[in-house]
């Protein structure tokens, strides 16, 4: 090690010592001094059970990494005869990397060991503190670094830009209106004084907006006064995973402040284990705010609507066996075990418990930020064997969970172990089971207002239709011209780029799968050309699997997305919304 490296490492260790001193509360010190190394926590850990040949997986060994540092600096015996009680400090960057591997790569902070410790040692909390010390000196997996940075800088952990988030809500509003056949049905944004402010996991906005539409359908059906915030909507919190209490406090405060600003009576947190724990349980502690407002999981909200008769669900709509996976954060850290089951039993007539369950359930193996640490994926999937066996034993075709992280973790292991089942959330099941005719919204008196006949919805709009199939181009041209638009056509990517530069249309309808230059490449070029990059694009494709590819590009996302075959009215409606929103942005830019 060079002198410079040595100096850097010494500095890092000093920083870790300083932060540790600040994190030493009574309960933390209690957990640090009370362990007797009895090994009772051993079999509680899914990493131990799936790696029986590796003693380093045992929870007390993981907690000992922090214990060594603590004893060296704060314990009587440890500071005088350190070797006697195993007190020790890291000395090199390699030592810090070993600690990183243990704290981030061999523990999901699921707290199962905590509940199995006879002494009441909270090993998961100790591991989180170790993560916090390492994160503070920049020693953390790249995924954790990137996600934490996004949460600090963009305001949500997936770096979803405000305009993309609003576009997605607008898109889902359209979906909602067309699904329920009510033009007034929409997702309200920043509406003041509502009963509910609904917060979500950024994964929903970025990868799974169906859950937003499902929740919106339920709120609509219940006749709820609700809104989604334009900011402070991310209820997740990477501070929980990285051990950074400052990030935890900042992220939680954003949500609380927005709720205060809008004057909503309660924050409803969509189904997410760590999001709920962070916002509802840890957030007030991190932010230093005494909770004087209401916060609840959407599971409670949906259950309340049913009990109050505001929505009605069909028990027999679902014809597959279900089981319920308890999220660690909900069951062990927040005591939510019964309400999800009560709700699930109302929408599933073939529900079986997995064993063990509730607070004794095994982690989905994707918790603790594990899904963002790809370097540990093989180890994670090996540890998932326990969970896979648990699921397989139920014979269920649908694994229901109230956590987005668990959805990803379980989906991954189901695929890996070829279990042949799918993962769903309660919001999906409840939305599907709604008996709309018997919901509160249908009981409200209808107000009929005579409106003047509107002008053609796309009157005066110039739209470039890009598709290699002539039949599709004819269909799109016919529908859009009937709606008043002026149409240009292109049969491939190169033609599309040339026409976009020449005509500067108001909107481009882009197919993805085309001969020659495909839509993905064309889209990237469109977005890279300063002259045409601001033209809104709506992808219209028969290949939904390409969606992820286009969203992963390091360019702004398309303004809209539609799966073929498209319905005439949906096509016109979506295009109109995209154009209205683009105009709105232009005016406010």
């Amino acid at each position: 090690m060079s002198a410079r490296e040595n100096k850097d490492t010494t500095y890092k260790i000093q920083v870790m010592r300083d932060i540790l001193a600040k994190k030493l509360t009574r309960s933390v010190v209690g957990s640090l001094v009370a362990c007797v190394h009895c090994g009772m926590c051993n079999e509680a850990c899914h990493y131990v059970l799936s790696h029986p040949d590796d003693p380093k997986m045992t929870p007390s060994f993981k907690a000992d990494q922090l214990r060594k540092l603590f004893k060296y600096n704060h314990d009587w015996t440890g500071s005088v005869i350190p070797w006697w009680v195993g007190a020790k400090e890291p000395h090199t960057d390699a030592d810090l990397d070993v600690l990183k591997d243990i704290a981030f790569g061999t523990c999901t902070n699921c707290r199962r060991c905590t509940l199995n410790c006879p002494m009441g040692v909270d090993t998961a909390v100790l591991n989180r503190i170790m993560r916090g010390l390492l994160s503070a000196v920049g020693v953390m997996p790249e995924g954790v670094r990137v996600v934490s940075k996004d949460q600090w800088e963009v305001g949500n952990q997936m770096g979803v830009l405000k305009e993309d988030y609003l576009d997605t809500l607008d898109w889902m509003s359209g979906e909602l209106a067309s699904e329920v056949g009510d033009e007034t049905a929409r997702i309200p944004i920043d509406e003041p004084g509502t009963e509910v402010m609904y917060t979500i996991n950024p994964r929903e906005a970025k990868y799974d907006p169906r859950t937003i539409a499902a929740a919106a359908k339920i709120f609509w059906a219940a006749g709820e006064s609700w809104t989604m915030p334009s900011e402070g909507w991310d209820q997740t919190n990477f501070g929980l995973f990285s051990g950074d209490d400052q990030l935890g406090g900042a992220a939680a405060r954003r949500v609380y402040e927005k709720q205060k600003e809008l004057g909503a009576k309660r924050i409803v947190i969509s189904e997410c284990g760590h999001g709920y724990r962070s916002t509802r349980c840890e957030g007030p502690n991190w932010a230093g705010i005494d909770q004087d407002w209401e916060m609840e999981s959407s599971v409670f909200t949906m259950l309340r609507y049913i009990k109050e008769g505001r929505i009605k669900v069909d028990l027999n709509k679902l014809d597959k066996r279900t089981t319920y996976h308890d999220s660690c954060n909900l069951a062990r850290s927040c005591g939510i075990t019964e309400e999800p089951r009560e709700l699930l039993r109302l929408v599933s007539n073939d529900f079986v418990e997995m064993t063990p369950n509730r607070a004794e359930n095994y982690c989905c193996t994707g918790g603790g930020g594990a899904m963002s640490m790809s370097e540990y994926t093989p180890r994670r999937l090996r540890s998932a064997k326990i969970k896979a066996d648990q699921i397989a034993a139920t014979g269920a075709k649908i694994v229901v969970t109230s956590c987005h992280n668990c959805v990803d973790g379980l989906s991954d292991l189901i695929k890996h172990y070829k279990l042949g089942c799918e993962v769903k959330q309660l919001v999906d099941l409840v939305a599907d089971a709604l008996i709309i005719e018997e919901c509160a919204v249908m009981k409200k008196p209808k107000v009929v207002v005579e409106m003047p006949k509107p002008a053609l919805p796309l009157h005066g709009r110039r739209i470039l239709v890009v598709d290699d199939e002539p039949d599709v181009r004819i269909f799109l041209r016919t529908v859009l011209e009937d709606a008043g638009a002026e149409i240009y056509e292109a049969a491939d990517g190169n033609q599309a780029l040339a026409m976009a530069r020449r005509h500067k249309p108001d909107l481009i309808s882009l197919d993805l799968s085309m001969e020659g230059k495909d839509g993905i490449e064309t889209f990237a070029e469109l977005r890279s050309d300063v002259q045409i990059r601001d033209i809104p694009v709506c992808v219209v494709t028969g290949h939904p699997e390409f969606r992820e590819v286009i969203y992963q590009r390091a360019v702004p996302m398309p303004e809209g997305y539609m799966d073929k075959p498209v319905k005439e009215d949906e096509l016109v409606d979506n295009f109109r919304r995209i154009l209205d929103l683009a105009e709105h942005h232009k005016v406010h830019a």
Partner: protein, 228 residues
Amino acid sequence: MPAHEPSPLLHAVEIIHWAALAVMVVVYTLRIRWLLSFRATRDRQKPGSSDRTDAQRGAYYSLGNVLMPWAMESTRNGFLFYLTFAVFHLGVVAGIGLAFLSTVARPFLQHAVVSTTIMALLFAAFAIGLYRIGRRFLRPVMKLISTPDDYFSIFMLTAWFFLGGLTELSIIGRLPGEGYAVAYLLLTSFFLLYVPFSKISHYLYYPFTRIWLGRTLGHRGTYPLVKG
């Protein structure tokens, strides 16, 4: 009450023993002050499930956990291990009782039921101590997490149980002389001085850790656990 007429040597050892206890009390007091010198925290969020449980109920449940082997999977599935834990710690109670009663109420220890109970517990705890030594040496997991303090503590405690059993035998006249009692009290005195600096002091922290964890998990609605 005048319990017995000890020899000058045994009498001196008894005094040492009581002095060691006084030192331990002082050190333990300092130790608790040290623990309480750290910042106390409180949950700022509203209770999680106030109709079912609360912080106080969680604390009681957590504290009583040691008497409910069915409450934790680790003790439920490892019931034999739980039994050895219970007997081992009852052995500790018997050993401490023997040390103090032998100096102030020796005739009580000569009562057949009392002496049989104490010896049964001490020799059973001794056997469990031997098992625990083997477990700590042979199981890779235990070796990995063990420190010299862990090995030393279990060795010394196992020896203390054995010596305690022999002392009780000498008290009821089955073994000659007071050498066992002298050795036992000296070893006990050593423990009284050593324990506050070793892992054996875990029992001092036990109520604190269990109550703190119980309060947190009770407030959030987790404790008492709901079983399926």
